[in-house]
């Protein structure tokens, strides 16, 4: 059996093996002798403190050998690294979320997460395909994207980057979620030139397309209005630039962008357009002119195909108005005092209608379902089937509820979004309308908010830097271990 001292010596020698060869030749035996003299009787393993001290001694010798010349500059180097390393980590781009399983149905939580200033951005940590885009909070509001496959919440930072100015309360730019939830289209209220940006929610990549716009001293505004069902086209309105909180605009050129090819065409010039909705096959657009009493259905070349008579005071509730079977178009009573005509595309909070009716989209006077009546204000945001719609509605001053309503009866609450009080209202709720047919409701999970916002990360980096400096200071003090007087020590060997 190996004697304890042999075992201990072997372990000490293993530690000292890392010393430079010549130093080891000169010192190892001497140090081993002292180490064994200070050991307790029967001790087989080095004390952790002794081991740490020897590792530090090895590092010190190497330091003297290899880069001792740098020593005068060492504090500056350590200071720079202690600052630059955490900052570098803070500024590194985040990783994309896991790819969605194409066969997996989309899902919504039974209750959305609360407002949080710690929610990271789409660009830093793309969430993958989304089921919802909504506004949370105010001045500035957050545009929040919720993953269709997991509890990932992200701020749509592109909408904030394109935001209106201080005089418009930093309102995020108008943004529109694609039907399959994989992209968002983001415009501007006022920019030097008109453009529409498409951000991929799986990669965070942004593609910006210049679009034609009326020339004006106020610059241009670009409002995405509707995606076609397959996501091949985005209808948008270009206007003169404007302040969304002061002077809403609806007059401009209606255009269509094909994000896949970048092709842009102007469909209507100098038109008054409050909202549009694509037909399910993407071949027609329902266009609402707020000054007219009929809804105009046009081809993509701008020619009028038919006119649908509107009930008094009603208009398109948004881009999800057309039923997936192409038979019906929903219309709703516009709320009096609605701050922005293009509210549904995320411009200025929730602007709900009080009643929803249905028109025969073919104008052949076929029978249509009875109106949907609700005691509270609501807004149609999608269709889960040809005979079922999804509405968002107020919920006892505690946020909004998402409910599924059958056109022939039956109501099911799907989810709720808490508003968290007066400073964090919920608005401009959009759903990925192409994912609603097989939508599952999942239990709320702990939210994954991605990487912290940049300012939070920089703050954390500074804290880490301070921590590193404190640790370095402590390490210097620990070089000499100050202990209480030892008890009658069993390490008292012969001093020779």
């Amino acid at each position: 059996m190996t004697a304890p001292s042999d075992s201990l010596e072997r372990r000490y020698r293993r530690l000292l093996r890392w010393l430079p060869t010549d130093y080891r030749a000169a010192r190892e035996d001497e140090m081993i002798g002292v180490l064994l003299q200070t050991a307790r009787p029967g001790q087989r393993r080095p004390d952790p403190a002794d081991a740490a001290d020897l590792i530090y001694a090895v590092a010190r010798v190497w330091c003297q050998r290899v880069w001792c010349r740098l020593r005068p500059r060492l504090p500056a180097i350590i200071a720079a690294m202690a600052l630059l390393l955490p900052l570098g980590v803070a500024l590194l781009p985040g990783a994309a979320g896991p790819p969605a399983d194409p066969g997996q149905p989309a899902s919504l939580p039974a209750r959305f997460a609360r407002y949080s200033t710690a929610t990271g951005s789409v660009s830093d940590a793309p969430p993958g395909r989304a089921i919802a885009l909504y506004q949370h909070g105010s001045e500035p509001a957050q545009d929040i994207v919720l993953s269709a496959d997991r509890a990932a919440y992200r701020q749509l930072d592109l909408a904030y980057a394109h935001r209106a100015g201080d005089d418009a309360f930093d309102t995020p730019a108008p943004a529109l979620l694609s039907p399959d939830g994989t992209r968002v289209a983001v415009g501007y209220f006022q920019a030097k030139s008109a453009s529409l940006s498409i951000q991929d929610l799986a990669t965070g990549q942004v593609t910006t397309h210049a679009v034609p716009a009326p020339s004006h001293d106020w610059g241009a505004g670009t409002i995405p209005l509707a995606w076609s069902a397959r996501g091949a086209q985005v209808a948008f309105l270009t206007t003169t630039g404007y302040n969304p909180s002061a002077s809403p605009r609806s007059v401009g050129d209606l255009g269509i962008l094909e994000p896949g090819t970048g092709r842009v065409r102007t469909v209507l010039r100098n038109a008054n357009v409050a909202a549009v909705a694509f037909a399910p096959d993407g071949a027609e657009l329902a266009v609402q002119d707020p000054t007219r009493t009929s809804l105009r259905v046009i081809g993509l070349d701008g020619t009028t195909r038919r006119l649908l008579e509107l009930p008094a005071g009603m208009g398109l509730p948004g881009p999800a108005a057309w039923s997936p079977d192409g038979r019906l178009i929903a219309v709703a009573a516009a709320r009096v005092g609605c701050p922005d005509l293009h509210d549904v595309s995320g411009t200025s909070g929730w602007c709900a209608a009080g009643q929803t009716r249905f028109l025969d989209a073919t104008a052949q006077r076929r029978p249509v379902p009875p109106p949907l009546s609700a005691t509270s204000r609501h807004q149609l945001v999608g269709w889960s089937a040809a005979d079922r719609v999804l509405l968002v509605g107020e919920q006892d001053n505690a946020g909004v509820a998402l409910v599924e309503v059958g056109l022939s009866g039956g109501v099911r609450q799907v989810s709720t979004i808490p508003d968290g009080g007066g400073d964090t209202p919920v608005g401009a709720v959009q759903l990925a309308t192409g994912l609603l047919g097989d939508l599952h409701v999942r239990e709320p999970l702990t939210p994954d908010r991605g990487r912290w916002p940049l300012l939070w990360r920089i703050g954390a980096a500074i804290m880490v830097t301070a921590g590193i400096w404190t640790a370095l200071g402590l390490l210097r003090r620990l070089r000499v271990q100050v202990t209480a007087p030892p008890a009658a020590s069993d390490a008292e060997g012969s001093a020779g």
């Binding site: 002798g33 002292v34 030892p486 020779g496």
Partner: protein
């Protein structure tokens, strides 16, 4: 003349009584500090390397005891001079502190 850190001061003090080997220095420093300071081996040899580089200590002799190398270190003239200067400086500071403590009568 640079100031000595506490472990260096205690090591030079230990060697002021005569040449000592590594373990002897550790024990002596423990005694000198009334058990408050325990030098670990890595720290001891780090300090000895530094003091040797500054010319304050030197190797006195080597012995083989129980088949193990035992190296003795001694204080150099420069080391004695620096230790004396440091001791005088500490004595002045201690005296000043004691005078003031005496003035407010908190000494036992």
């Amino acid at each position: 003349m640079s100031r000595l850190q506490e472990p260096s001061f205690l090591i030079l003090t230990a060697l002021a009584a005569g040449a000592q080997h590594g373990y002897g220095i550790i024990k002596d420093v423990q005694d000198l500090s009334d058990g408050a300071v325990t030098l670990r081996v890595g720290t001891l040899y780090g300090a000895l390397d530094r003091l040797a580089l500054q010319g304050l200590v030197a190797i006195d002799r080597e012995e083989i005891v129980d088949s193990r190398l035992r190296r003795y270190y001694r204080l150099t003239q420069a080391g004695a001079k620096q230790l004396a200067a440091e001791a005088a400086r500490q004595r002045r500071q201690a005296a000043a502190a004691l005078r003031r403590l005496g003035a407010i009568e908190i000494l036992p």
